[in-house]
Amino acid sequence: MSKVIKNGQIAASDWRILPLPEGDDVAGVEIPAGRVIVPLAVWLARRDELLARGDVGLWFASHQGPEDVTDDIARLPVIAVDFPKFADGRGYSTAALLRTRYGYTGQLIAFGEVLRDQFNYLTRCGFDTLQPREGRYTDAQLDAAIASLRDFTVPYQASVVDPQPLFRRVARTGAKA
């Protein structure tokens, strides 16, 4: 099991992320037992069967968003967002939308090209679990990377984890002397 950072702690990954099936065979793909996260297309094709299981989540590709599954969101135990490149920033908006507009409170995983240099922004957009690509970080590096979660401690703007902007959080009286 690969390691992830979950709620600020190193943890074993306890969900299996199912890749897109070859040939996009979403109807026929075998979905293993146990906790599994399926691609959005598989979810849409097999929704009723998977909802009944209760231990299946879905993942969005970077170009996909929550709009197609809004009714299911509250019932999903986990949602993941793929970062095919760390510089593809669409997943940040996906997370922010899930957490704010769609009220999703379950586990939210960022996976793929997820680097420690983005950890602070990813968590502020609502990801509670950060799953770097297998082998990207050694255990020691991942331990050290936890520090990046706290890169910026008093951000200006509102975010998912700090829904009030600084000007509403504190009384900023003016310039220092």
Partner: protein
């Protein structure tokens, strides 16, 4: 000007620590070149032709004297003793080794400066009117709004990895001096019929490969909602802007593809969800920030100063400088001075450490300790008493900062070009130098009158060549440098994109080409008609005819 409180200071200090560690990990091989690239770019660090290029943010162009002195010190210590001011009201180092950049960051943080988001695919430095707060035609001071939006955009977690760079400009005067029509978002402050402050919002303007004038997306967004409105625009862009082709990734391409009406509809849909949310601005916050931009302690002075008028009458050189480099001020007895960084023989926008220290001294002595950077790459002392202009002029003249050419042909906007920038296809500084050398007669320059020549060394258009009355673009053709000329572009309220006059020219021809364009104008102009107005009246053909009349041999090779 704005002063940091503990929160602002903590953020820049945390950035220094973050970047120091990123540099350490990069040098240790833990952060690959590809992974380091967006990280360093969002901290202003490019890998460039000679050395890394390092770009420092100057929000809306404001510089305190102590910041100028710090820049002077840093240029002397880490660079070659000079710096370059850019069209984004920023400043660039060209020679500092990569490894010392974290040290420079730390030094900057001691004077409330940073290089946050000066490059990369994120929200860039906010630009505004260099005469904000002092211009007679100002309706609403844009600086508090630029500062409020700067804070919102700084380390915004959702918009740090956009499809492409994102530039926002704010204007609050009748005349647009912030070029808002060629920005991704252009904000024009205005009052509605009820006297309430809000913003006319333009979107999708930009230069570069596909120059487009921004479109109006909203005629009035009340001030309380400007952050949430910008968030809505950014979210639609972040989600739906193209990411398959960096040349087609700017918001202008998305707006063009959808059409402004469809894009407006999508933004409004998004806005409906975030409007009235926590990012809605409060009166208290606006007042807090606006207090930093209260008028300085102006003296009550007579509108005119006898000594000043005496010097104008007695000293032609001073009079010539006043005519071009001194601007009316909203307060009686004061004026705004533009220090020219366009002395012929010096790359446009370059300034030495010694000059920066002198400007800092003059800012303290004459202008409440503050200077400003213009997007035309000059410096401004905004609040100088008319009675002190003669003294200031004498000092500036000795320092080579009083060339009386503001707005004239030699006040050329010019990117660093192929001499410094690895993106460039061609050199641009030697073109500016050749033109400045050709037009060295001040009387002739004054006779030609207001004209803007803008030079870019590549399609990225850092020299804003599309909006120059004469625009020059360096292009590469089979490894050779050629120059394409446009005329009829303009900035300001009637911004427009210039039109290409025909095949490109060799570098050696450029001064002749400009001369021929100017001669055509002189022959065709009506009395008191400016170059741009003559171009608009008679079109391109007379200019083309003159320029290409004796230039057949180059035509084929240079047809790029």
């Amino acid at each position: 000007m704005y002063r940091y409180d503990d929160y602002d200071q903590r953020l820049v200090d945390e950035r220094v620590a973050q970047f120091r560690d990123q540099m350490r990990r990069h040098l240790a091989g833990e952060l690959s070149d590809d992974e380091f690239r967006p990280v360093r770019l969002q901290n202003g660090l490019y890998i460039q032709r000679h050395a890394p290029m390092y770009r420092i943010s100057i929000p809306y162009g404001h510089l305190a004297s102590r910041q100028l002195r710090k820049l002077a010190y840093l240029a002397r210590t880490y660079d070659k003793g000079y710096l370059h001011f850019t069209t984004r009201q920023n400043v660039q180092f060209n020679w500092a080794p990569m490894e010392v950049i974290p040290e420079i960051c730390a030094e900057l943080a001691t004077v409330e400066m940073h290089s946050i988001q000066t490059s990369g695919n994120c929200i860039r430095n906010f630009t505004s009117d260099p005469f904000a707060g002092v211009a007679g035609d100002e309706l609403i001071d844009p600086r508090p709004w630029a500062e409020i939006l700067r804070q919102w955009a700084t380390f915004h977690p959702e918009f740090a990895y956009l499809p492409r760079k994102f530039k926002i400009a704010v204007n609050g005067a009748k005349e647009d001096r912030a070029v808002i029509q060629v920005h991704d978002i252009g904000l024009d402050l205005k009052k509605n019929e009820a006297g309430e402050i809000g913003f006319r919002v333009l979107v999708g303007g930009g230069l570069g490969r596909t120059p487009i004038i921004g479109r109006e997306i909203e005629s009035f967004v009340p001030w309380q909602h400007i952050i949430t409105y910008c968030e809505a625009v950014l979210r639609v862009y972040n989600r739906y802007g193209r990411r398959d082709n960096s040349f087609k990734a700017r918001i202008k391409i998305l707006v063009s593809a959808l059409g402004i009406d469809e894009f407006r509809w999508q933004v409004r849909e998004e806005w409906a969800h975030v409007k009235d949310g926590p990012n809605t601005l409060t009166v208290e916050e606006v007042h807090r920030v606006a207090d930093f931009f209260e008028d300085p302690a102006y003296e009550t002075l007579p509108a005119d100063d006898a000594g000043y008028h005496h010097h104008i009458a007695e000293d032609l050189a001073f009079a010539s400088w006043v005519k071009r480099n001194v601007r009316a001020h909203k307060k009686p007895g004061y004026a705004s001075v533009t220090l020219s960084l366009k002395k012929p023989g010096v790359p446009p926008g370059d300034i030495t450490s010694e000059q920066m220290e002198l400007v800092a001294d003059w800012a303290d002595r004459f202008s409440f300790g503050e200077a400003r950077v213009t997007h035309e790459q000059n410096l401004v002392l905004a609040d100088v008493k008319k009675s002190e202009l003669y003294t200031l002029w004498g000092l500036a003249r000795k320092a080579g900062l009083a060339t009386p050419n503001i707005g004239l042909l030699t006040d050329i906007i010019c990117c660093p070009g192929g001499d410094f920038c690895s993106l460039a296809n061609a050199k641009s500084i030697p073109i500016a130098a050749a033109i400045q050398e050709r037009f060295d007669d001040l009387d002739y320059l004054h006779d030609i009158g207001d004209i803007e020549i803008n030079i870019s060394g590549c399609m990225n258009a850092c020299g804003h060549h599309h909006v120059g009355h004469i625009g020059i673009l360096g292009v590469d053709k089979n490894g050779e440098e050629w120059y394409q000329v446009t005329i009829g572009g303009s900035q300001g309220n009637h911004a427009g994109i210039g039109k290409v006059i025909g095949p490109s020219f060799a570098r050696a021809e450029m001064a002749d080409v400009i001369s021929e364009l100017i001669e055509t104008y002189i022959e065709e102009r009506h009395e008191d008609e400016l170059f741009i107005d003559t171009v608009r009246r008679i079109g391109l053909d007379p200019f083309k005819a003159r320029v290409y009349a004796n230039r057949q041999p180059h035509r084929k090779a240079a047809n790029v």
